[in-house]
């Protein structure tokens, strides 16, 4: 963010330098005042830390089965109980969170990359190319995308299975590539779906900015195109992009959990929050903790991410704040 310090020596006057910083400082002050957004950020932060570091300190791994301990209620030994195969739920939730966050992060990066590139090109070139590129987006919008992701996942499962059998029988490898293949496709499939809105937002911003007077002023002052883009366009596009990115992450976590719930996403014995909720829903009559804990943690995470996203939107982009 702080590119002001990087090219500070190339700047003509200190006035501009301060102006560049104040956007982010202002945003930070506004965010700091929004207690819900801050609480959300704190929850997400501790959840991420817990999910990524926590499993190293646990004795029981997410996949250790002990059928004699199946469906035990939460206790001192099993903090959040055990599942129908006697696996420690606490460890499964942490590991599942890791997978859910990773899927969300990877898919968001994919969608960010495609969306920003497509949007910038479309907005910057303008004219007929812009019309054509936006027409394509409109057409893609009309497609029932969740349905396509489902098809893609079925397809991916088949492909992963046959690659695995081929490796095992043909080359004698002992691999579980199908699992990783599946996860990899999950990133791809979700990312490919979610870039459309990002592209629209970026294009709108770029188009808007090109017509703004301060850009014209920069041009007439003789600033180089690179300088205009780096110093004046990007900071202005960045706000909405950051905001939309924070709102994409919960959307993608939701989609991942949705797919895993239907049995099309992350495959057992791996763990993900969607998968845990699915198992929980099947066992809820005797062991409600299997549904409650993953469900509540998942909902709280979505809740926090949405609050953080809204807070960021209000902080970075007070004019377009929706409510």
């Amino acid at each position: 963010m702080d590119n002001a310090s990087v090219n500070a020596d190339t700047l003509p006057s200190p006035d501009q330098l301060e102006k560049g910083q104040s956007l982010w400082l202002d945003a930070w002050h506004r965010l700091y005042k929004n207690k819900m957004a801050l609480a959300g950020a704190m929850f997400i932060g501790s959840m991420v830390l817990l999910c990524f570091i926590g499993p190293f300190f646990l004795e029981k791994s997410y996949s250790d089965q002990d059928l004699s301990q199946a469906l035990k209620a939460p206790s001192a030994e099993y903090w959040l109980g055990t599942d129908h195969l006697g696996r420690d739920q606490f460890s499964r939730i942490l590991f599942g969170g890791r997978i859910s966050f990773l899927v969300a992060l990877a898919a968001t990066i994919v969608s960010l990359f495609i969306g920003v590139l497509y949007g910038t090109v479309s907005g910057y070139l303008g004219g007929k190319i812009d019309v054509l590129m936006m027409r394509i987006i409109d057409t893609l919008y009309a497609l029932p995308f969740t349905i396509f992701v489902i098809l893609l996942m079925v397809f991916a499962k088949d492909l992963g299975d046959s690659v695995e059998t081929w490796l095992r029988e043909g080359l004698g490898w002992d691999t579980d590539i199908a699992l990783q293949w599946n996860l990899f496709l999950l990133f791809g499939a979700i990312g490919v779906v979610e870039w459309l809105t990002m592209a629209r937002i970026v294009r709108g911003q770029v188009l808007n900015l090109r017509r703004q007077e301060f850009i014209e002023a920069c041009q007439s002052l003789g600033l180089s195109t690179r300088r205009i883009i780096v110093r004046h366009m990007i900071p202005n596009v960045l706000g909405p992009v950051i905001v939309y990115t924070t709102l994409t992450i919960p959307a993608i976590m939701l989609l991942e959990a949705f797919l895993s719930f239907l049995g099309l996403g992350v495959q057992p014995p791996m763990s993900s929050w969607g998968l845990l909720i699915k198992d929980g829903a099947e066992q809820m009559e005797e062991s409600s903790w299997m549904l409650l804990y993953p469900g509540v943690i998942f909902a709280l995470t979505l809740f926090s991410l949405n609050f953080l996203g809204d807070g960021l939107r209000d902080a970075l982009d007070p004019k377009t704040s929706k409510d």
């Binding site: 409109d138 029932p144 299975d161 909720i277 829903a281 009559e285 909902a299 809740f303 409510d323």
Partner: protein, 297 residues
């Protein structure tokens, strides 16, 4: 219009995606001799070259024929959709009703006195609804109302009371979203000059909200209804699975697992058609409500 090219794209994409998948629809059958498998493949035309199959399918499609199902012997896809869709439509209708009634109500209450208790409580309720995914809310409602309180059956689609929990679950998210949209839309309208004029004329607060502001305030809600339909369809996959409802959503998920090519293709096309048509209806509705839009676009 865009309808035909979009449908053609969907049909082509889905067709080749399914056919390129390594598994065949009859791979899972219990051991059958090669001759029988060949006969089955011949019966369904699967032995012909891929392009021939594609053009034959497209030929049938023009006449509205979606072909025979691979997994339900002697049934056509048209029959299966005609049987399952009304159930999904009923569920969808109830859910939209739940969403509109709860959503508009909660949103209106929240918008009347912004940033007070009567705003915070409904607004947080709406936020909770948005963050509780259907596949968490559904099992939770079953746990509370079916297993503990025993008010409703946990699953099935036989009695009128069986329809309450699924409709609440599916409508819940949309109710929450509509509440937020209504609140946002109403706040924008309520701050405009013509509302001040109405108040200055001495119109009661109720009249101002219900007669003057509501029409403009629900505008975002109506434009949301188009995308909401696509979401309701996706939601129905989960709801119909959780509550064991014999609707099209469950059929679709099962047929995707079974590789019942023609049923998957038919359902995808049917859904796409539905989404496109309903989006069109929403667009027309928007222009009817706000003639300004006609000139802008």
């Amino acid at each position: 219009m865009q309808t035909i090219p979009v449908l053609l794209t969907v049909a082509t994409l889905t067709f080749f995606l399914l056919r390129l998948a390594p598994g065949g629809p009859f791979d899972d059958e219990k051991v059958v001799s090669k001759e029988i498998l060949a006969a089955i493949n011949e019966h369904y035309g699967l032995d012909k070259p891929l392009l021939t199959q594609y053009f034959e399918y497209m030929g049938g499609l023009i006449k509205g024929d979606l072909g025979p199902s691979f997994k339900y012997p002697n049934r056509t896809v048209n029959e299966l959709i005609a049987e399952a869709f009304p159930v999904s439509m009923e569920l969808g209708f109830y859910s939209i009703m739940v969403a509109l009634m709860l959503g508009l109500g909660i949103g209106l209450i929240a918008s009347i006195r912004p940033n007070t208790v009567t705003d915070y409580v409904p607004s947080s309720l709406a936020m909770t609804g948005i963050c509780l995914p259907t596949f968490v809310l559904g099992p939770l409602l079953i746990l509370i109302f079916s297993i503990h309180l025993q008010w409703f059956n946990a699953s099935g689609w036989h009695f009128q009371s069986d329809k309450i929990l699924p409709a609440l679950t599916l409508g819940g998210f949309y109710a929450a979203y509509i509440a937020r949209l209504t609140r946002g839309g109403m706040l924008e309208i309520l701050s405009q000059d013509f509302i001040r004029t109405a108040r200055a004329k001495g119109a009661s607060e109720l009249r101002v909200v219900l007669f003057h502001a509501l029409k403009g305030g629900v505008f975002p809600v109506i434009s949301f209804l188009g995308p909401a339909v696509a979401g309701l369809i996706a939601g129905s996959f989960v709801i119909e699975t959780i509550f064991h409802i014999p609707g099209l959503g469950r059929f679709f998920v099962q047929s995707a697992f079974n590789r019942d090519y023609t049923l998957v293709l038919g359902t995808v096309l049917f859904y796409s058609f539905l989404i496109i048509i309903l989006n069109l209806v929403v667009d027309i509705l928007l222009v009817l409500l706000n003639p300004k839009l006609k000139f802008e676009s």
